[in-house]
Amino acid sequence: MKSMFTNPVLIKEFKLRFRAFKSFSGIMFYLLALSIFVFGFIFVLMDFNISGFISSEESVMLFSLLTYVQLALILFITPGMTAGSISSEREKQTLNILLTTAQSSFQIIFGKMSSSIVFLMLLLIAGLPIYSLVFLFGGVSPSQLIVIFAFLIVTMLAVGSIGVMFSTLLRKTIISMIATYGSMLVLTGVTAFFFLISMEMNRSGMTGVTSSPSIFAHFWGTINPIALMMTLIDPLMLDSFYEVTNIHFPIWAGYLIFYSLVTIVCLLIAVKRLRVNMKKVK
């Protein structure tokens, strides 16, 4: 833990990040976007509601909306924060100097990755007061909020490591950004599409009843961040998911395993490819 706070790259990144105006404006716009959704939702609801109060069901709806907005913001902001971490150093011609220092490749990658993740966590924490509004109206337990936050962080780590990996492998930040956003599209859109296809393929003929377990449908559904959030927010969604896939392996466990693996593999690739492999010389 101590080594984390003495990591030179991390300390340098903190200094650079918090001296840049764009970090503060980033937090401001993030909170602004979140506030517009929450207060807009509350005002619209109050306008349509004759009784003039928000019921616990509506509070859960607000909580769901907030969770999806936050997930979307994370999926949108994380690639932007991490996909330029190494390539921007290369473009600014500071990478070569950094690579000739005594720091290990792991230290450099870890410093870069953790500075972005810590900033993103700051965004999440800064959004907590807005999030906590749902507790005013009931219907949501604090433990549910903790679980959702934990999975947002898991998602953030995975997306962040994909960004750092592409940033190490690809020379230009713009290409790294495209590759990372492309991966996001695959993880959210393409997996959802495959999930629907595999689900349809598993339905038996005319009756439309799921006959056998569908590993593919379960896999594509498990690794989809939106599907996971749906099941975490509404337990009924989890039941229907198990019903259509006919597999009762917990979706959160599958998600955790898959994205932990993605994080580890991407970071390992980034560490391995940051410097040239001198040992390959003939």
Partner: protein, 309 residues
């Protein structure tokens, strides 16, 4: 201190380095000269563990660049030809970051940083953002950065490029100071005279091959076979031309009013004999002088020879 054997770097079918062999002793200031694209930066990048050679190896202080890159990084201070700085950091924070990158404790860094800034004449810019420093100041700050972990070897790729004359002189003075501190310094430039004054040895590289290596004077001597002689005459130029044309070592006589210039391939003794013979033949010589070749001429002559081969 530095041993390079058969170092080769190939990009597709293009050879950036072709079997480079070089040995540099401890405390030597070695100037690496070559035109742009000759292979200087490639050599320096390999020595700094940034580039993987296609074949061959290099050793610094007995450690192999390919087998012990982690050890090499602690031994060297590398300054690339083009580099960026972290604009949002102040000069002392910039040095502090690199100090911590080499694992130097904070207390030690706090003592080191003012000393290094003083060495590169940047004490007055200690709390300024790197962004506002001039190019020369940034170069000097980067040089201070290479010294933060007290490396035995400094690898400086074109440290004076793009600097105005004053900044060049300042940089040269700092390098002289480092030389007196006993550092082994590898410095590259495509401008030879820039190096002559401060280097103990010079290596001339062209198309990835080392074509000359030795002290500045030794390299100049390599051109002895092609010395240029200028003879000034009082009168009777035609007679003198005829006389010198008869000498087997004289070629390419050029006449400019009362002055003859020609290439001479003979030894010093033969040159003495030629002068004596000319005087005895009543050639009215007022001056008989070997042209001082500056290092630019040396470089041009050597590289021209390689191209023609």
């Amino acid at each position: 201190m530095i041993e390079i054997k058969g170092l080769t770097k190939k990009y597709g079918s293009f050879y950036a380095l072709q079997g480079l062999n070089l040995s540099i002793g401890e405390g030597t200031v070695f100037g690496f000269v070559g035109a742009n694209g000759a292979g200087k930066s490639t050599t320096f990048s390999i020595l700094s563990t940034l580039l993987q050679p296609t074949a061959g190896d290099a050793w610094i202080n007995g450690k192999s660049v390919t087998k012990n890159p982690e050890d090499i990084r602690k031994l060297i201070g590398y300054m690339p030809d083009f580099f960026g700085v972290y604009d949002q950091l102040k000069a002392d924070e910039y040095l502090d970051f690199f100090g911590s990158s080499y694992g130097i404790p904070a207390a030690e860094r706090a003592k080191l940083i003012p000393q290094l800034l003083e060495l590169v004449n940047l004490t007055h810019k200690r709390y300024e953002y790197v962004d506002v420093l001039s190019r020369g100041m940034k170069q000097r700050l980067c040089l201070a950065r290479t010294l933060i972990h007290d490396p035995k070897v400094l690898i400086l790729d074109e440290p004076a490029s793009g600097l105005d004359p004053r900044a060049r002189i300042e940089m040269r003075d700092i390098l002289k100071q480092l030389k007196s501190m006993g550092k082994t310094i590898l410095i590259s430039s495509h401008i030879l005279p820039e190096l002559a004054e401060m280097c103990d040895e010079i290596g001339v590289i062209d198309s990835g091959k080392l074509i000359a290596h030795g002290s500045v004077s030794a390299i100049q001597t390599q051109l002895q076979g092609e010395k240029v002689i200028t003879v000034k005459l009082r009168e009777t130029v035609d007679k003198a031309v005829k006389f010198f044309e008869e000498d087997p070592f004289v070629t390419g006589i050029e006449v400019n009013e009362q002055q003859l210039t020609f290439q001479y391939r003979g030894s010093d003794e033969e040159q003495m004999a030629l002068l004596k013979k000319a005087v005895l033949a009543n050639i009215p010589i007022t001056s008989f002088a070997e042209e001082e070749k500056d290092l630019e001429d040396v470089f041009m002559a050597i590289t021209k020879g390689v191209d023609e081969a």
